[in-house]
Symmetry: C2
Subunit: 472 residues, 2 copies
């Protein structure tokens, strides 16, 4: 047999120190030899000194290479610093410098004799790990990315390396952590539901057809039917996954594929119990974003999630914004006005609007239990036990209580002129005992965009998909 390889791999040089991350440099005692790895974020050549700013996953580190001065007092021969974006290893010494970021910089080894750069400079040793990088399509070292959105999207793999862009995704990743941590602690079970489905979830419109072994299939528009069925198994479930909408409109708030943070729970009394869980979830997400430090680096304020969201009934919301009482939905300007109202009256970035008209909600929506129309059955109720949550004047979450009785489903489906038989496998759960339940779905991209102040969800999505964009 072959001789065993080292495992985990040992460093090529056994005496080399372990890798130090940029974030940890301020706590390394000056004079310590360190090994850094990362990208050349910026190189700046002055007459006798070259600055290299190294970028790794935790931040930036300043590396200083002093060029030996000639008899004329001017440096000769540019030091061998690779171009920006080249990945390098830097071996040098930690040196205190109050002007440097974090109060430290990397300079030449304390003992110049250990340098193997062979260039005669006194600077630290810089070793490229790959070929020298070509000039990036966007200037990553500038404090802000100034390129137009299409350029940023076309060159996403490179543009996302910018620290501010990277921090936007760190807000998203922290939000996912906070979402799961809150729900795990509350007895929820994470589930995975199929994205390939035999029938369109909620309507025949806006679905992507798939050729499934020669048969028609569709991409799931939401995990709605499955998360409800799984309430029958686990009571409380959540899923983070892609959902697909063949949105024919090109707007700043819609994507053809986005991340839906779905929650569903049983044994609720009505949608207000669902709203209470939503509050805890958003508070957990906000806390995790705060803890990540990404919002602070972006200079954006993480919303304070109130103990209870202000809640308005849909009818009252219409009245408040001066809309006709028979409007079936809230227009974007209404949402903005309600956001301003919540901030002014309740100091809240959030406001929930409950009771949306049944006519505008999907068939599984539970009619309003508090204010039914006189003498009417469930399907004839005008209002519903559903809500939208507005975040800074924009719809962020849709949720509510669902029907839980089999007969109500049959009636609701038939009332829409559809055949309950085409929902047979979904409805089976309700024939065999389902508790009163409800849930909600948060759009991750909308949450992040609103939080970081991006006007277009594409600005916070690494590889967005829309009417025009399928690449990269």
């Amino acid at each position: 047999m072959r001789p065993p390889l080292p495992y985990p791999s040992t460093s090529p040089s056994v005496s080399a120190p372990a890798r130090t991350l940029a974030r940890d440099l301020p706590s390394v005692p000056p004079g310590t030899a360190v090994r850094l790895q990362g990208w050349v974020h910026r190189r700046r050549e002055l007459s006798t000194v070259t600055f290299l700013v190294l970028r790794d996953r935790t931040g930036l580190a300043q590396v200083v290479i002093r060029t030996a001065a000639g008899p004329d007092g001017v440096g000769h021969g540019a030091p061998d610093v690779p171009p920006e974006e080249t990945t390098v290893e830097v071996n040098g010494t930690v040196t205190a410098n109050p002007q440097a970021p974090g109060g430290v910089e990397i300079t030449g080894p304390a003992s110049a004799g250990t340098s193997d750069a062979g260039s005669g400079e006194s600077g630290p040793v810089i070793t490229p790990l790959t070929d020298l990088a070509e000039t990036p399509p966007v200037e990553l070292w500038r404090p802000t990315l100034t390129a137009a959105l299409p350029t940023l999207l076309d060159h996403a793999a490179v543009a996302w390396r910018h620290p501010a862009q990277k921090a936007r995704w760190e807000v998203a990743a922290a939000s996912l952590r906070g979402f799961r941590a809150t729900l795990d602690a509350a007895g929820f079970t994470e589930v995975c539901t199929p994205k390939l489905v035999g029938t369109a979830t909620e309507s025949g419109a806006n679905v992507f057809p798939v050729d499934y072994f020669g048969r028609p299939a569709y991409l799931a528009q939401s995990p709605q039917f499955y998360k409800q069925q799984l309430v029958g198994v686990f009571e409380r479930v959540y899923e983070v996954g892609p959902v697909f909408r063949a949105e024919p409109h090109d707007t700043v708030r819609h994507l053809a594929e986005y991340r839906s943070l779905d929650v569903e729970l049983g044994f609720v009394r009505d949608h207000r119990d669902v709203l209470a869980v939503l509050r805890d979830v958003l508070a957990g997400m906000a806390d995790a974003v705060r803890a990540s430090g990404a919002a602070e680096r972006l200079g954006v304020e993480v919303p304070k999630v109130p103990d209870r969201f202000p809640v308005l009934h849909f009818a009252d919301a219409l009245e408040l914004v001066g809309a006709p009482a028979d409007e079936p939905d809230l227009a974007p300007e209404h949402e903005r006005a309600l956001g301003q109202w919540a901030l002014a009256e309740h100091g809240s970035d959030f406001v929930a609007v409950e009771g949306y008209p049944m006519a505008k909600r999907p068939f599984y929506t539970h009619p309003e239990s508090a204010h039914p129309e006189p003498g009417s059955g469930p399907e004839a109720s005008r209002w519903s036990n559903s809500f939208d949550l507005l975040f800074r004047g924009l719809e962020l979450v849709t949720g509510g209580q669902r029907l839980h009785r089999y007969a109500d489903y049959v009636a609701a489906i038939e009332a829409r002129g559809e055949d309950p038989a085409s929902y047979a496998s979904y409805l089976e759960a309700f024939r065999h005992g389902m508790p009163p339940h409800g849930g909600f779905a948060i759009g991750l991209e909308r949450w992040v965009a609103r939080l970081v102040g991006a006007t277009n969800v594409r600005e916070v999505t690494p590889f967005p998909r829309d009417l025009h964009r399928l690449v990269p």
Copy 2:
């Protein structure tokens, strides 16, 4: 405006106790009035007593209803216990009973006067929360589900309610928690990459075509290209998401849609560094499964993940199993034999096979750095820096080091007769500086199946998708 509704919703009866979960009953002092909610798991009517086993998300609770005996000493009138699977609320009193599960059961209220059942029994009050359930298609109260797999799959929403089936998914959910916790602690960033792609990821075969606004698109077979690009941004990334394979074969280990646990990391020396991360990830997953208690309830042993996996070179593995030296891949019987070898020689449920022939690996695979063929360039090397990890004799993970130089990609793609231009946006990342990197992908369903001893991945997947199955 309408009067505000209670928020969170208050109980219909203000004096009713908060809900108690089955799991918590043993720690409730006997004599305490409790309110339980859940499903009628089993009802068993004897002459003077009816047992109702209630199932909630945390377990089972025994409820005892004593029927008033008539002058003949026999109970008269069956108590009003709804049929199995009906969701109910039970109000009763905790009573010690060493024979009952957990040592406690629920009996009638200490003070009979508070009963509002109106049925004259002395049992606890049982209130259906929905219509009475129809008889389930499978008998959920039996210790094991005896129905055939197609029946279980056809009636998934109900069959998964069985405690043993539910515990299988709890193994999966715990595994996801352990996966993320391990990687979060190691500085990895969770990413979300598109599932709708413009070109097939690794080959034109086995992809599902999608009608994307009238243009052709495909479902991603893996997040490979995107996770590599994001190593350029975050260094260390992971993703849990669906991947899609139009598998034309109907086997016990393949699904058309499954959950891939993807990891990719930069600044590695070779694939052995990747293997070290894989070890930690699997150890974290096994720990989380152990902590969940689900494996214990299933009576299965959670594997001990060794500090280091035994590693065999592909050439040595062939020799060990007595296969010809020019075999390009390991057959299932070879994998089984290697699993037995690892257990016998190293006491390990895991064994890694490294150095797979380049010819059987995707174009982005890094050739072997330790044992290159004499005088050959990277693309001519026979062996690769890639590995498979076998778990109990079955391939569970594929991983390895990837190419990181742009020129190597161009050469590798051209060597396969393809045009690098069709990979332009992927390759852009490599033109602008990518570190040596590698990663792996774990199939969630295979991991769970192997861990719980299921022979077919469909047994551990709530709504599997395959050649024949798109519903439910």
